[in-house]
Amino acid sequence: MKIRVRYFAVFREATGTGLEVIETGAASPSELFSECVGRHPGLQKYTASLVAINDEMAAWDAQLNENDEVLFFPPVAGG
């Protein structure tokens, strides 16, 4: 299925892109992130802290559906 993936901050710089559309069989954000690390070795040294699906915060084992947009968030450090 097609999934849109968004990368922010250090992830965006490590992958060289803010958004990509990929064909994947990943069942969850957790599996999807592993796949993204495979595509972008620069991601290897990072862990995502939070994930959102279609602008809603989501669990790492949530179910992915065709055309979902998945947002991988590096750890935040606001303020």
Binding site: R6, F8, A9, V10, R12, E13, T47, A48, S49, L50, A52, D55, M57, L71, F73, P74, P75, V76, A77, G78, G79
Partner: protein, 144 residues
Amino acid sequence: MSAFEITGQPIELQVFRARLLDRSCGAYVQFDGWVRDHNEGRKVLQLEYEVYEPLAVRIGQDIIQEALERFGVSHACAIHRSGLMELSEVAVVVGVSSPHRSEAFEACRYIIDQAKIRLPIWKKEHYESGHAEWVNCQRCAHHE
């Protein structure tokens, strides 16, 4: 105006504060986050915030609403900057007014603590060395 905003422009503190004035309130607590000239031993020259605005605004408004309900304060709002900032600029401001001071302090603290944990906002520090780095909050890393 919304209770939580993201702005690319300098925050006008007097305008901000005016929104919280209320004659029934005896207490006002304000927190400012300033751009600091150092972090973990390195000299910082500039700071850059990357904000994922659709979610940041929604979560920010949730946090404000939680604070209003939990602490029963009269008014609360916050503004967070995005983009490039110079030293001493205000990166974030939180204001709370309430009849009494105890709940105003607690609500203000709650809002900034939650904001730092939950908002999709990332900070990049530009150092004197010419180097720049995304700053990770250690506490958040523990939540992974």
